[in-house]
Amino acid sequence: MSAATAWTVASIQAALRAKKVSAREIATEFYATIDRRNPDINAYLTLSRERAFAQADRVDVATACGEKLGPLAGVPIAVKDVISTLGVRTTCGSKILETYLPPYDATAVARLEKAGAVILGKTNCDEFAMGSSNENSAYGPVRNPVAMDRVPGGSSGGSAAAVAAGLAVAALGTDTGGSIRQPGACCGVPAMMPTYGRVSRYGLIAFASSLDRIGPFATNVADTAAIMSVMAGHDENDATSSAASAPDYVSEIEQSVTGLRIGVPEEYFGEGIDSQLKEKVLAGIALLEKLGCRRVSLKMPHTEYAIATYYIIATAEASSNLARYDGVRYGLRVPGATLIDMYRKTREHGFGAEVKRRLMLGTYVLSTGYYDAYYLRAQKVRALIAHDFTEAFQKVDAIVTPTTPTPAFKLGEKTSDPLQMYLADIYTVTGSLAGIPGISVPCGMTKEKLPIGMQILGPHFSESRVLQLARAFEKAGGFVI
């Protein structure tokens, strides 16, 4: 019983310009839906009504005065709660930041608002973006709006659910090992991870800095492109952001995909994949062939090492990044007799089970005597995985795979087995490690009416091509194949 909104970026722009509706009315409509459905879905943790209506009013004044509107004017957008919003509570899904009010806006958020977007609120997620089911949030799990007894995926589960349930036109998520694409697949909405460095991470609360990326969820590919166009580009506040100029994705998505070579790596269709899901994604690939793409079989021999590599690198980086939560500068403080005692008590009470597990693992793999065996080796295997992609992109223009091995699982199904949970990211961590862009697009449903996601990966900075393929697939009916 999904109920994504009928509003799109384009239809809102047209309606505002024709004065058929005001930005305030649109925001009011979305808050009414949120008030009705969020208590069940738990997609939002904090609503920013005051800020949203002030922004909507600015858009309405601009419309009344005949000023040129920004490309996202009046578009209601939700923001994952690991992305800083000035004066709007930002918890990272953690008790340790339960009352934290960031003193500045993330660049991605500032750019959306500058383009006229209305930020409705902050969405639930796995604590510090660590998880694949949204069950690691300190504020309770998100329910999948398509099947309420199932997880929405994670870690950006609240953002995916908000878009799928019509609680926002679009949403921002973050992807470190699949945290945009996997929930996008589970909730049946397009979800994009840009190239590493394409979208500024200034104001993104860090999990694993060599992997973290910000990207959009939307109900269609054109909206995805519109949000990407606004966010992409260099930011002097993020030294890892690319200096390369960003294209206007919106104007490029309709280009033909005829003649593009689509790589299909056999490792993504082997043991462990759900048979219905495999069948649909292969049908999706056949549809792309019908659109003039040429299918090329690929071997990517290091795929099976990706999860192990990812969980060494990501946890090692997290153990360093999360050292900052010590009760001194922000967030929770649990008093202790000494400074060290205060650190330890604060962290013990402030962090949830999965975060502690990963901090333990990350600390272990970096500790004396183990660094070479784990961390250094993982960095070398990461190079081999990235090389698999470099080789593949000599032969193909894009790679198409399933986004996940199974559809959304039941709430509670994997919570007692961390390793099984990690394997939910088996098809997404590879692109994360290689730094390349990817999108998950809906690709039909199982017999049980659970959404299936198809992943399209491209070379670094090939967002336009990835979006073109997604757009052609959408136009040809691939989403409901």
């Binding site: 009010l101 260099h234 390369a244 100029s245 500068r329 502690k356 600390t363």
Partner: protein, 111 residues
Amino acid sequence: MTISREDVLRVAELAHLELTPEEIELYRGQLDEILTYISKLQQLDVTNVEPMTQISFDTAEPAASSSPSPREPESDLREDSLRPCHIADAVLEQAPDAAKPFFRVPKVIER
């Protein structure tokens, strides 16, 4: 792979985590399982493989339609100059215990 209780305690101390007895036992078992899984990387021959430490791709292959120019390595580093920064009060407001302009913590120096 066998993780001992002592290993768990050592790592918890390094990570500044004060674990409960139940957590120590839980994490011992789970870390054991996870480390056994990730030890599959030992199967690979990584001789002569350079570790991937730089994750910047501006000089990688150009995009499909718009070709971004390769990064000039120095060009996007901003000038190292002083600029006004007036967020100290806003930052201190988020502190659990501030005595402007300082963060207050338990005494660390005995005298």
